[in-house]
């Protein structure tokens, strides 16, 4: 089985990638600005909702319920979609999903497709697979276009080109669209995108989309968007292929009332996004004549057995956690080395990869909890991060190099020290003595090994001459104590 999550197999560790990202001042400025804007917009739109917490609770429960009965809902969806004239395909992994798509496209006889934003297709690297077979996939979301034309990688779940400012976008468009006089005015940039794509929308007969929600009760699919390119791709072509991660299922049409209130406010800080499109199978005289759904596993079923891990799949891809995250804020998305970045990426990427890749991501967090606060489906991301750290440590301890790592030795040592009063007090005295090597003017400088990470950025006061317990013992000895402690 070839589970593939974007380019995670080849991505550098987070600390190394972050170091590079931190040097890019333009990137950091762009990310600060963009996340500040969306975070503030989101806050405004959430404050005006009296029932925000109730909506979050309902969304959480709906998702948890659906996942706990996923086989039932997937089959219900398949039945209803098929009855309405759609064809449902199942793909165990990235390669299968791509093979199905290629097969359908070749059957139709096309060599071009128009695509509306779907992170799932980036996860399986569909464009790469299509291009290898001579099929050109045109991204039609403005941001995905910016990324595609700039030969770049997406850096955010909702706003993939957030790492680019208007001048960088102008340069990309001007070069690739042959528009030397293009200005950096956002309106002009949008207009350039509009005319560039119009021709494609009218001409290309094959469309590929993802889905925000797949409704079991009706066999319907829902695409949530702002620009209108989604409507173009799901309405105008003859053949539509929709790639759906199996976790996108919701039980019934009624459940949309919860998610359509939470998603736009969380993702872009709007009361409602401009367009939501819902369709069921094939509609005579309206839209594609052929509709195919590819239900994708690609590692998701691995998360179902553990209730805590399963919660990861509640995600509705709003990106609010990225915008709230103080770590993402400093590095942007590329540093995570995965199509899924930020807090959700830190738990989803490693798990889809069975912890074979993205192993440094669970540590790419200070556990501040800002993500959990804003998550519209109440995924307890900090808790899952700690759980995954436990799995990483456990796996590492099965290897010799893992056992001999600085961190492991330090932790084992500390556990021994904390296990006995005698050892603990001895360690305190030892620390006071050992620090003399590094002590200058009351500060500890240039600590060795892992601890050097501290002193690279921060001063550190030397250990005080007396610990608290030494002060306490001294005080007990000099003052009359009514009760002694016999412990």
């Amino acid at each position: 089985m070839s589970i593939r999550v974007g380019k995670t197999a080849k991505a550098p560790d987070f600390p190394a990638a972050a170091k590079v990202a931190l040097q890019d001042q333009q990137l950091r400025k762009n990310v600060h600005h963009a996340t500040d804007v969306i975070r503030n917009k989101r806050a405004l739109r959430v404050q005006e909702m009296d029932d925000w917490q109730e909506l979050r609770q309902a969304a959480h429960e709906i998702k948890e319920h659906t996942l706990a009965h996923l086989d039932h809902y997937l089959q219900e969806f398949e039945r209803n979609c098929t009855a309405a004239g759609g064809t449902v395909h199942w793909a165990r992994d990235a390669d299968e999903a791509n093979a199905i798509a290629i097969g359908l496209i070749q059957q139709y006889g096309g060599d071009e497709v128009i695509k509306v934003k779907t992170m799932t297709s980036d996860e399986v690297q569909m464009n790469v697979a299509l291009e290898a077979k001579g099929i050109m996939a045109h991204e039609t979301d403005l941001a995905d276009m910016i990324v595609q034309l700039g030969h770049d990688e997406p850096s955010h779940i909702v706003v993939p080109a957030l790492h680019r400012n208007r001048f960088e976008i102008r340069d990309i468009f001007s070069k690739k669209m042959g528009l030397p006089d293009l200005t950096a005015d956002p309106e002009d940039l949008a207009a350039a995108a509009r005319s560039y794509l119009r021709d494609r929308f009218l001409r290309v007969n094959l469309g590929i989309s993802g889905a925000n929600f797949a409704i079991a009760e009706t066999g319907s699919v829902c695409v949530v968007e702002s620009e209108g390119n989604g409507r173009m791709c799901v309405t105008l072509p003859d053949v539509l292929i929709t790639l759906v991660g199996i976790e996108k299922l919701i039980p019934a049409f009624e459940d949309l009332e919860v998610f359509l209130q939470l998603l736009p406010r969380s993702a872009t800080g709007e009361r409602m996004n401009p367009y939501n499109s819902l369709w069921t199978g094939v509609h005579a005289g309206d839209g594609p004549k052929e509709f195919h759904v590819i239900l994708l596993d690609n590692g998701r079923t691995q998360l179902l057995a553990s209730k805590m891990e399963r919660e990861t799949l509640d995600c509705i891809r709003c990106g609010a956690c990225l915008n709230a995250c103080p770590v993402y804020r400093e590095t942007g998305g590329h540093a995570y080395g995965s199509i899924y970045s930020g807090p959700i990426g830190a738990i989803l990427s490693p798990q889809l990869n069975s912890l074979e890749h993205s192993r440094s991501l669970p540590y790419a967090s200070s556990l501040c909890g800002a993500c959990y606060e804003v998550c519209p489906v109440k995924i307890n991301i900090p808790e899952i991060l700690i759980h995954l750290r436990g799995r990483v440590v456990h796996d590492d301890q099965q290897t010799l190099s893992g056992n001999l790592s600085q961190m492991n030795l330090a932790m084992k040592g500390a556990a021994l020290v904390f296990g006995s009063r005698r050892r603990y007090e001895a360690a305190q005295r030892l620390g006071r003595m050992g620090q003399l090597l590094f002590k200058r003017n009351g500060q500890l400088e240039h600590l060795p090994g892992m601890a050097g990470g501290w002193t690279r950025y921060r001063d550190l006061r030397a250990l005080p001459q007396q610990t608290f317990r030494e002060w306490w013992k001294q005080r007990q000895a000099t003052a009359p104590a009514p009760e002694s402690e016999a412990r």
Binding site: Y363, E373, I386, R389, G419, M450, F468, R469, E485
Partner: protein, 245 residues
């Protein structure tokens, strides 16, 4: 009241003056403070870093040490967060019913220091005087897990001659994050730089918090920058009774 003090391993070793201040304040209010010598650590560092098995004996030791305490005072909100969020889970995973029962019996008696004063003892004015401009840093655990809210601020507002200053964007993490500070030192440093800039944009002379972990990190940056801004645990401000410190 008899109050058992769990000073926290890093306070014991690096910030004894915090434990001393807590003792003085509680005694000033007429309570008796005890310090069970067998205490070491709450297990957070191990648990949060993924050393879950190694954390279990550390947690057991804490629960045993304080089993008979009427009330436990902890001048470290991240330790209390660890206890409230993970101790039951740890006991359940250990499949030990009596351990779980002990945890459940003990948890309601554990208080972070400012919580203890305001919510349990009903005190806001502890007779402190501290004539300085002080900025309060709401650490992530105290805000998002313990939901301390205004509690520390109510205590600070009752301190004579103290001018309270607000740090802009104060809900943003300072970047300490436990072992994160060394495992991801570069990002931690970048987060610190932002926090520092926010602090230095105010007229604060002193930054305070209910966690010395954050303060150690913030001090590290402020001191290296030669800023002259000091860090002090909330307890030390409440213990102060006038005069420049």
């Amino acid at each position: 009241m008899q109050i058992a003090l769990f000073v926290a391993c890093y306070n014991d070793t690096l910030f004894p003056q915090t434990g001393i201040a807590v003792t003085h304040v509680l005694e000033r209010l007429g309570h008796t403070v005890t310090f069970p010598m067998q205490q070491t650590c709450c297990g957070q560092m191990h648990y949060n870093t993924g050393f879950h098995q190694e954390a279990v004996p550390i947690v057991r030791r804490f629960v045993q040490t304080f089993a008979d305490a009427e009330v436990v005072c902890v001048p470290s909100s991240s330790c209390v967060a660890m206890m409230r969020e993970h101790y039951e889970m740890i006991a359940e995973a250990a499949n030990d019913a009596s351990f779980l029962a002990d945890v459940r019996a003990l948890l309601p008696r554990i208080f972070e220091f400012s919580e203890l004063l305001v919510k349990h003892l009903g005190v806001e004015d502890v007779g402190a005087a501290f004539p300085h401009r002080v900025a309060y840093h709401p650490s992530c655990h105290s805000a998002r897990v313990l939901h301390l809210g205004e509690t520390p601020l109510r205590l600070l507002r009752a301190v004579r001659d103290l001018t309270l200053v607000t740090i802009p964007n104060n809900d943003q993490c300072c970047g300490f994050g436990g072992t994160f500070a060394v495992k991801n030192a570069d990002v931690s440093g970048a987060m610190l730089a932002e926090k520092q800039a926010s602090i230095l944009s105010t007229p604060a002379e002193v930054v305070t918090a209910v966690d010395n972990s954050c303060l150690m990190h913030i001090y590290g940056g402020l001191h290296r920058a030669g800023s002259g801004v000091r860090t002090l645990h909330l307890a030390e401000i409440l213990a102060a009774q006038g005069g420049v410190q």
